[in-house]
């Protein structure tokens, strides 16, 4: 029998498969002008002068003086200018946009602009930085006593690097102005209402005078959560000034240089150990925010909440800082602060296990969080945590436990290793955000022909949201999928159901749709046009979250993962191949089994890339040295074996048909599995991601540093 999990053909399959889907750069609009942005080439400076070439007719400069509202992009705080105002604070900061009818000419003119800087000393190293955008602390239990009484203290610093999204479609946006002065922005964006609010502020216009439309989106992974607000304001300001449509599509090298990335992190972990048991943990965490706040506080919060990983400890202290540096502002990337701390705690647990003479897995099993446990932030794990079952399954599929023993003493040129990484991902917006800030609204509009249109601000970036939303509504109403209509969101028509982020869309917005459909079903009248609306309701069981003390339930529920990676290392060259990868996941009930599988596999490979080959090279001047796809490399089909993933099915009662967050989870647990495998192959402890060929050979030549 078909269940909600039974796969269907994705609704956007034919359009995308045949090349007929129109992404932003494919849209043809009469009289379209092309914009290119001039970015700062230095990390910190006062702009003394901008020397412009003679501009031919039709070519226009757009800068801060053209911003009719406030020259700030509204994100979390309003600290990031639409165009630089006399100073630049990172390499890649937008200074002005040159707009004109011919793109080649625009490029040529842009290259002739000279900016005279008075350079200042930039702050590049976030490990040393002393300016903090945010600083949080929390604790639980008597950790001081535990450290005072410990018979052993383990103290390590673990670091994670940048990760660049490499969505295949670069950031792209079109701004348009209608004769009544209304501004419309269409483009590749995750969160239409984020852009909508930013446009109001920058343009000084009311909500009815701006409109945001999502075009087909070629991947995002968090990278199109905040940046589209910046680019959106820029094309809107340009269109507003010249009265013609303005398209801006970033070049790949610019996209890598100027857009947000995963925050690099430096994390000092200390463990108090008594009688070979962990009695307390301390974590001091720094995330590199870059030059502006953008999404950093929320990213840091999620990282800190997850600082103890999938484990329950009675005593702990966590402190975290978002450090300001003169580097590109970092932001959302699948996992949203989680991959850093989950990597650190997993490596730390490996090392503690070895320090007390145990293998990692049996050691970790004893600390696994379970239903009813108090969380690190004194919330509660309210629901069943299927980790033991998942670990057993992934162990069986991969042969982890046996191979871990086999790989302990190896010699010869090629050495194998196997590693296990555990992670969770909190579903939904952190803390009380869903209740206090987002307050999501959805609508179902039934037409007279009995077809039902889904109206939300949710965007499909490839994760299959159109298909899963339609499945939820059709199944609830008991009508065929073909009778449910879903389009790309346009803020003139859809209510604000919140951002497409935080693994919230399916669980939170999907549940609203589920309830709306139930309501519509009750009121259903054949042949009548009807509309129902649903508003977010906060789960009553949640222990209220209080950010000021960092306490309570940050999420109603969590998704769980257990990943295993097997590697083979060439000891002559450090070249490492991934020869096996297995993942087991709990995402509640899959709303579509194949879509979930696709999410798990794609995220898993991003996690493996994060641990292995994705190295972003930033020099002491704050310049990204590898801003091309040949230098910042992601895995090809040859770099990965068949990813063997599966799910366990434990419905989450608060989600639609038992579903909960899935999108981000697999990216949280890949790197620790990979680096653990490297530890197994090399027979040592490792402390960072990515761990490159160079690192491997250096270890093999000189030993651990």
């Amino acid at each position: 029998m078909d269940t909600i999990s039974t796969p269907v053909k994705k609704l956007d399959h034919d359009l995308k498969m045949s090349g007929a889907a129109r992404y932003t750069d494919d849209l043809q609009i009469p009289d379209m002008q092309h914009g290119k942005v001039l970015y700062s080439s230095v990390a910190k400076a006062i702009i003394k002068e901008i020397q412009l070439p003679q501009l031919p007719e039709g070519y226009v400069i757009i800068d801060k003086n053209d911003v009719p509202g406030e020259n700030f992009v509204h994100i979390v705080a309003d600290d990031c200018p639409v165009f630089a105002d006399g100073v630049v604070t990172y390499i890649g900061e937008p200074i002005l946009m040159l707009v004109g009818p011919d793109l080649k000419k625009v490029r040529e003119l842009l290259s002739q602009i000279v900016v005279v800087y008075e350079e200042q000393t930039p702050e590049i190293d976030f490990r040393k930085g002393e300016t903090f955008f945010y600083h949080y602390e929390y604790e639980k239990g008597d950790w001081q006593k535990a450290f005072a009484e410990a018979d052993q203290v383990l103290d390590e610093t673990i670091e994670t690097g940048y990760q660049e999204h490499i969505y295949m479609e670069v950031q792209s946006m079109i701004g348009m102005k209608d004769p009544n002065g209304k501004i419309t922005v269409a483009g590749s964006l995750q969160c239409p209402y984020y852009v909508h609010r930013a446009l109001q502020k920058a343009l000084g216009l009311g909500p009815d005078k701006v409109c945001v439309i999502q075009a087909e989106m070629g991947g995002a992974f968090g990278g199109k959560e905040a940046y589209p607000s910046i680019l959106g304001c820029q094309v809107a300001v340009a269109a507003n000034k010249i009265g013609k449509p303005v398209k801006c599509v970033l070049d790949r090298r610019d996209d890598i240089t100027v857009t947000s990335k995963r925050h690099p992190a430096s994390m000092r972990y200390q463990a108090a150990i008594k009688d070979r048991k962990i009695t307390a943990i301390q974590a001091d965490i720094r995330y590199n925010s870059g030059a502006y706040i953008t999404l950093s506080p929320v990213v840091l919060q999620r990282g800190l909440i997850g600082a103890m990983g999938v484990y329950t400890f009675d005593a702990l202290r966590v402190e975290g800082k978002a450090v300001k540096t003169n580097t590109v502002p970092n932001g959302a990337f699948r996992g949203f602060g989680g991959p850093q701390t989950f990597f650190a705690i997993e490596m730390f647990m490996n090392h503690i296990a070895k320090a007390v003479g145990e293998d990692p897995l049996p050691f970790k099993l004893r600390y696994l969080a379970k239903k009813g446990d108090e969380t690190s932030t004194r919330g509660r794990y309210h629901f069943h945590i299927p980790m033991p079952e998942m670990i057993e399954k992934v162990d069986k599929a991969s042969g982890y436990s046996q191979k871990y023993q086999e790989y302990k003493n190896q010699s010869g040129r090629y050495r194998k290793g196997i590693g296990l990484g555990l992670a969770y991902h909190g579903c939904g917006f952190t803390g009380s955000g869903e209740r206090d800030m987002i307050k999501g609204v959805v609508r179902l509009h039934k037409l007279a022909n009995n077809k039902v249109e889904v109206l939300t601000a949710g965007t499909d970036m490839g994760q299959g949201l159109k298909t899963t939303f339609v499945k939820i509504v059709a199944k609830t109403l008991g009508i065929p999928i073909e009778d449910v209509i879903i389009k790309n969101p346009n803020t003139d028509f859809v209510p604000d159901s919140g951002p497409t982020a935080a693994s919230r869309s399916l669980m939170v917005v999907g549940k609203l749709l589920n309830r709306a459909a139930e309501k519509l079903k009750e009121q259903w009248e054949d042949g009548e046009e009807q509309e129902v609306e649903e508003h977010y309701v906060h789960p009553e069981f949640m222990i209220p979250w209080d950010l000021s003390v960092f306490q309570g339930d940050p999420y109603p529920d969590y998704s769980w993962s257990a990943n295993v990676v097997e590697v083979e290392v060439d000891t002559l060259t450090g070249v490492t191949r991934v020869i096996g990868a297995w993942g087991m996941y709990d995402v509640g009930t899959a709303i579509d089994y194949r879509i979930v599988q696709g999410q798990m596999q794609g995220g898993f490979l991003q996690g493996i890339g994060y641990g292995s080959i994705e190295l972003m090279d930033v020099n002491s001047k704050g310049q990204i040295r590898n801003n091309s796809l040949s230098d910042y490399i992601i895995p090809t089909a040859m770099d990965v074996p068949h990813l063997q993933t599966d799910i366990v099915d434990h419905p989450y009662e608060g989600g639609p048909f038992g579903g909960k967050g899935a999108g981000e989870l697999p990216a949280v647990g890949g790197a620790q599995a990979y680096i653990s495998a490297m530890e197994s192959a090399l027979g040592t402890n490792l402390y960072k991601t990515p761990f490159s060929q160079e690192d491997t050979l250096e270890f093999l030549t000189k030993g651990a540093k």
């Binding site: 040129r413 002559l572 060259t573 040295r625 040949s630 050979l697 030549t701």
Partner: protein, 274 residues
């Protein structure tokens, strides 16, 4: 011949050489290096010139038309395995379908995967112009990174690859990933013996210096020696390379690339019983 508003499409080699001698043109073979920059240029399109796409064996000498793309050569039975192994690791199918061995040579990158093999196998290049032709050893063709002795009126018209003794080879390319990878280090070693004595040693290193590196004076240390004698000389032999290999600094550390060179060189000897 087709004369374009900006560029030329010759139908014969003679036409191509004539255009080359009379005009400022950029020879376009496969385009896979040129088009990265894609500057408006007057191209001499050689990509359909069949005269440059032949592979012919003449005894122990293989004549490879420089216009052959990698896919053609990978499918050709006369092309030696060592060259195929280097070419199959170039970029991806799409690039191998367009990129040519002649372009790989004339682009003069020290990372050129096919050039490494041509160094070790003592290949020669034929350079032609309307005035005549000259044959030069591959090592003399390159004068630096991106620099060659090819004159403005010349085209590379033949690659002469001596086939003898290429079966016993040791090859390894280190890229950052398994496909679409630019060489970080590439190494090829050839070692032949006759009557128990080493008759040929060739060791070439790619992606290390401004050109591919090969040290004939060090190789000579082992010539005429038995394997046992060579084994005794091994420390001195390796020491020469340890001193001579100085990788140019790059994004991948010089220390790493040096260590890989030495590891592979030692393993090459090892695999030959030295």
């Amino acid at each position: 011949m087709v004369t374009l508003r900006n560029g030329y499409i010759p139908e014969t080699l003679a036409e191509a050489l004539k255009i080359r001698s009379e005009n400022q043109v950029v020879p376009y073979a496969g385009g896979t290096d040129l088009m990265i920059k894609a500057q408006p240029s007057s191209y001499l399109f050689l990509n359909k010139l069949s005269a440059l796409q032949k592979v012919e064996q003449d005894g122990d000498m293989l004549h490879i038309g420089p216009g052959c793309n990698y896919t053609m050569l990978l499918n050709h039975p006369a092309v030696p395995k060592v060259l195929k192994e280097a070419m199959i690791r170039i970029a991806s199918p799409a690039t191998r379908n367009r990129g040519t061995i002649g372009g790989n040579i004339c682009n003069a990158s020290p990372k050129a995967d096919s050039v490494l093999i041509l160094y070790a196998s003592d290949a020669e290049l034929k350079l032609s112009s309307i005035a005549g032709e000259r044959i030069v050893p591959i090592e003399e063709f390159f004068t630096g990174r991106g620099k060659t002795i090819l004159r403005e009126d010349e085209l590379l018209t033949d690659i002469r690859l001596p086939l003898k003794g290429l079966d016993d080879y040791y090859y390894y390319k280190v890229g950052a990933r398994r496909a679409m990878a630019i060489s970080r280090v590439a190494f090829v070693g050839l070692l032949n013996t006759e009557n128990g004595k080493i008759s040929r040693v060739a060791a070439a290193f790619g992606a290390i210096s401004d050109t591919v590196l090969r040290f004939r004076e060090f190789e000579a240390m082992l010539l005429g020696k038995t394997l046992a004698e060579a084994t005794a000389l091994k420390p001195a032999f390796l020491a020469k390379y340890q001193e001579a290999i100085v990788p140019i600094r790059g994004r991948v550390s010089a220390e790493y690339r040096k260590q890989v060179c030495m590891n592979l060189l030692a393993d090459f000897l090892n695999s030959n019983g030295i």
